[in-house]
């Protein structure tokens, strides 16, 4: 093929490839099929995350304001970056035995890497994930949370 015809065939094939590409973009432009983008802040009410989504660490409480945490501190040891601090008290039971109860279960959301080791290793399954994801705050002290609610106690049969 001499260079003259090659020049024109190159132009032809070049244009053809551009048109093929544009046919794809054109198709999506006129018939997008399914709209994949979301109108985020407006659809807040309807927006539902997957139930296993790791948003925020919580300690589920039942209707009597009772949780399952014994204050054993296993989650604290297993956390790779010190996001959890467990402060427990020792109380004396009526029968003279000493028992450990949780005072504060402090969780630093700002340091958490969402590795889920605390949830997995907790022997009494006291921790779980919540699906909230809007974590932006103006003051970072707000990211330190106390997971056991005020006045809460432990469910009876957990040892």
């Amino acid at each position: 093929m001499n260079s003259f015809t090659k020049y024109f065939t190159d132009i032809f094939w070049g244009f053809r490839s551009l048109l093929i590409g544009m046919s794809v973009t054109g198709r999506y432009f006129f018939s997008p099929g399914q709209i994949v983008t979301q109108q985020y802040p407006e659809n807040r009410k309807k927006l539902k995350m997957f139930e296993r989504f790791k948003g925020d660490l919580i300690m589920p409480h039942d209707e009597h304001n009772q949780h399952r945490c014994t204050g054993c501190g296993i989650c604290e040891t297993n956390c790779p970056n010190g996001s959890i601090e467990v402060i427990s008290d020792r109380i004396e039971l009526p029968d003279g035995k000493k028992k450990r109860i949780i005072d504060k279960h402090i969780y630093h959301l700002s340091m958490c890497t969402f590795c889920s080791l605390c949830v997995k290793t907790c022997p009494s399954e006291a921790l779980d994930w919540d699906q909230t994801f809007e974590h932006a705050v103006f003051d970072r002290t707000k990211l330190t949370k106390i997971l056991n609610k005020p006045g809460s106690s432990i469910i009876k049969d957990i040892e």
Binding site: I20, G21, F50, P80, L117
Partner: protein, 375 residues
């Protein structure tokens, strides 16, 4: 005093000049600084400066237990987090001689391949964007979203999963898992055709990628360039074939090889690899056996004294983990041989005498992930 004054000055020819590409340059996809010596527009020499995002992961591993190390490896090559996790798990399981349940092997292989597809899709998006095709970026991310949804539904995270644990998985996959994966495969087969139509045949793209940054097979082997970049030069270096782990010796797949060694062949290897990954998943997804999602492991894992090495094929090449244990619950030394770091070494060699605009294409075709370089 004299030595300080007589520091060797970088030799620089007449009419040459240095420019810094990065650390904040969009085409380096992170904080990588390339000091480029130019003559006009021609690249004469290139010197990568790493360390801007160094977090000391290897050092941190020395104080962590083996379960905790998993979440650190997520953060090296964040685009193939599952595969990094897999490497640590295999290392621990190999050292303790634990046999993981069949179900775990199946699920791990499927997730690894999904992760590889997601990684290649993101690479495709950014590669198109670097060469000026912004449409690619949207299409690639749109399709990757389906994989992230599968991940999110099963274990709640989209990028940094920490889902594997020595001995098995954190929890079982979601009941919808199989259906979603099958839907995705059907969907993605169509979309990959679009990728070809938009970019692979595009005349502008071909002009900018064919014959650019030729990496010969010899050079690839000498520099240890593994993964799709090495296979684009005809070097069969797939760990999944050479040292099979998980289910890779039971499934049939082709090791994608091309021999030109230029940017275009590295590109095509990755596109074909996505298809191969889908073939692998298709063979496994229907016959995931029932069973436990984890083997019984002690809560505190202590590896027997000794040295261990485990390599896996991550989306960028061979990820090797070398570990020395003294029998305690944390390793004495962990060394990660990360593919991006090794592949970066060859960038200087293959971009010499190229235009600076080609450097962007070459860098993108090596698919460098900066946290993987610096770890």
């Amino acid at each position: 005093m004299k030595e300080i004054i007589n520091l060797p000055v970088q030799s620089i020819e007449e009419e040459e000049y240095h420019i810094n590409m990065g650390p904040q340059h969009p085409s380096t996809h992170g904080v990588l600084r390339l000091v480029v010596t130019l003559q006009g527009e021609i690249v004469k020499k290139l010197q990568p400066h790493c360390g801007y995002i160094h977090r000391g992961i290897e050092k941190m591993c020395e104080k962590d237990t083996y379960q905790q190390i998993i979440h650190l490896t997520d953060r090296m090559d964040y685009l193939s987090a599952h595969i990094n996790n897999h490497a640590v798990c295999l290392l621990v399981e190999g050292a303790l001689e634990v046999e993981v349940p069949e179900r775990v092997k199946y699920i791990r292989t499927i997730l690894d391949e999904l992760n590889r597809i997601a990684s290649h899709q993101l690479w495709w998006s950014s590669f198109g964007m670097d060469l000026g095709g912004l449409t690619c970026f949207f299409y690639g991310l749109r399709d990757r979203e389906h994989i992230l949804d599968i991940f999110e539904e099963s274990f709640g995270s989209r990028l940094l999963h920490s889902y594997y644990t020595p001995g098995g998985l954190m929890r079982d996959v979601h009941p919808n898992f199989q259906k979603r994966v099958k839907d995705f495969l059907k969907y993605n087969r169509k979309k990959i055709k679009d990728y070809d139509r938009i970019l692979s045949g595009n005349v502008i793209f071909l002009e900018r990628s064919k014959g650019v940054g030729v990496l010969s097979k010899e050079l690839a082997i000498n520099y240890g360039v593994t993964g799709p970049s090495g296979r684009g030069s005809g070097w069969a270096c797939d760990i999944r074939k050479k040292h099979p782990y998980a289910m890779y010796d039971k499934v049939e797949f082709r090791e994608v090889l091309r021999h030109e060694g230029d940017t275009y062949s590295r590109y095509m290897v990755r596109i074909d690899e996505m298809r191969e990954s889908m073939n692998i998943i298709e063979q496994l997804i229907d016959n995931i056996p029932e069973g436990d999602f984890s083997a019984k492991m002690k809560p505190i894992i202590r590896l027997p004294e000794g040295e261990y090495y485990q390599c896996v094929e991550s989306a960028r090449g061979e990820l090797g983990i070398y570990c020395i244990s003294d029998g305690n619950k944390n390793p004495v030394r962990m060394k990660f041989r990360t593919p991006s770091f090794v592949n970066l070494g060859v960038l200087d060699k293959i971009s010499r005498e190229m235009k600076i605009a080609d450097l962007v294409a070459i860098g993108a075709s090596l698919d460098l992930v900066i946290p993987d370089i610096d770890r």
